[in-house]
């Protein structure tokens, strides 16, 4: 999946996460994490993010995560939505997401 424009999904309400993806062609993945629970769950959030990126074969993207205490499933859902928007794809691969 190739990110061609800025995509955003989620909210900044409690227990949610807002994820912004930007194109970063040829320069790999860069994740910037802000979280109210970074100390406790920072590693886990990055792991969930990287797994989904791999699953959807995203090779280049700037990922900004603003987490207000979201569960893993919420993070995955928001990330998938932001990525599909950033890739301007509306054919979803339901087996992967």
């Amino acid at each position: 999946m190739k990110i061609i424009k800025t995509g955003i999904a989620g909210t900044l309400e409690s227990s949610d996460v807002m994820i912004t993806v930007r194109s970063n062609s040829g320069k790999g993945i860069k994740i910037n994490l802000q979280s109210t629970v970074k100390k406790q769950f920072g590693k886990q959030i990055i792991k969930v993010t990287n797994n989904l990126l791999k699953e959807l074969s995203v090779e280049d993207a700037l990922i900004q995560i603003n987490d207000i205490g979201a569960l893993d499933c919420t993070i995955e859902a928001r990330l998938a939505a932001a990525l599909y928007r950033g890739a301007e794809q509306s054919e979803y691969d339901w087996e992967k997401i």
């Binding site: 409690s14 807002m18 912004t20 930007r22």
Partner: protein
């Protein structure tokens, strides 16, 4: 807490009742409702206005939460609404103003600080790489001149449109330094669109070998760094904005390019620019940037300025214009594109 209904809506022009609620809420937070606002978000809990935030172009401002509703993350709701609104409008990079004491709240919501004026205001952006990318772009544009050692100077121009007056200032400054960085203001609020202003400056200055042309982007005299350049504001607010714009320029942008001097033309006509010159004279040297004012180029006992060109343009006095603008500008004005600008000017004058 009692049962309550949260309701969020955007309004463009608040009626007097809503305006009173907004200004009261802002006042409680030591803020005022500004004059250049496109849309205002109202979040109500029951009948009471609990939180508000406004949008002006790509800037979020006048954000406040009522005291009794703090600690339920209403700031998150405001920001979600404002951010989604900006994306709907196609703005993916935007800014916000806040007081330094509230910086932490917005850091946690993913905004990065661009520049802080101590004890008064901090400008933040949603794209953590926004300013970095701009600095990289500036360095890339300067690549061919980076090996030149010696004095690097700068000028910031709007050039609406470029005249022989601007050209005189640019040539004079270029003579007095080894590399001249020329920034063209990017904000599209002038009669001549940014693209045209930039293109004409590029053509008119192509003969100056030690000149590097840049776009001012969001970081030099823009709606983000210096909103009161474009709207009428009180002297106190203009001062704060100038400190923001000039602080960012001299502490971050100038060092990235090794710039140690800034030139400007003296400004006998326009009060906003003349005030900006006064502030540059006061602020820049404090940050280690020399400031030089160059006397305006005159013909027929009158300074050559873009406003003079616009005045002649309104009268279709092309022979006077020809005497005071470079050929690039003249050719443009005489073209069909130029004709459109004259129409726009006439409409604005009515």
């Amino acid at each position: 807490m009692d049962d309550y209904q949260i309701n969020a809506e955007f309004i463009e022009k608040p009626d007097s009742g809503a305006m009173l609620e907004i200004t009261n809420l802002l006042k409680e937070n030591d803020l005022t409702f500004e004059t250049d606002i496109d849309e205002t978000l109202l979040i109500r809990i029951g009948d009471s206005l609990a939180a508000t935030g406004s949008i002006s172009g790509n800037i979020l401002k006048c954000i406040a939460v009522k005291k009794e509703y703090k600690n339920i993350n209403l700031t998150g709701s405001i920001m979600t609404n404002l951010i989604n609104r900006e994306y709907q409008k196609g703005n993916t990079d935007f800014f916000l103003f806040t007081k330094p004491k509230n910086k932490g709240i917005f850091l946690q919501l993913g905004f990065s600080p661009v520049y802080e004026v101590k004890n008064s205001v901090v400008l933040m952006e949603n794209n953590p790489l926004g300013l970095d990318n701009y600095l990289k772009e500036l360095k890339k544009e300067s690549r061919s001149k980076l090996d030149i050692t010696g004095k690097a100077a700068s000028i910031v121009v709007n050039c609406n449109p470029i005249t022989n007056g601007h050209l005189y200032l640019i040539e004079k400054a270029a003579d007095e330094c080894d590399v001249l960085h020329l920034f063209v203001v990017s904000e599209d609020r002038s009669l001549f669109p940014m693209k045209v202003r930039y293109q004409l400056v590029k053509e008119a200055t192509s003969h100056i070998n030690n000149l590097v042309l840049h776009k001012g982007s969001n970081y030099i005299i823009s709606n983000a760094t210096f909103p009161s350049y474009f709207i009428k504001e009180s002297k106190q607010i203009i001062d704060i904005h100038a400190r923001l714009d000039l602080g960012l320029f001299s502490e971050i942008i100038a060092p990235a390019l090794g710039i140690t001097a800034r030139f400007a033309g003296d400004e006998p006509l326009c009060p906003v620019t003349s005030n900006y010159n006064r502030l540059m004279k006061e602020i820049l040297p404090k940050h280690g940037i020399d400031f030089h004012i160059i006397k305006r180029f005159e013909t027929d006992g009158e300074p050559v300025s873009a406003s003079r060109v616009r005045k002649c343009l309104l009268k279709r006095d092309f022979s006077s214009i020809k005497k005071i603008v470079p050929s690039a500008t003249y050719n443009f004005l005489a073209s069909s594109e130029g004709e459109k600008i004259i129409e726009k000017l006439k409409k604005a004058g009515k």
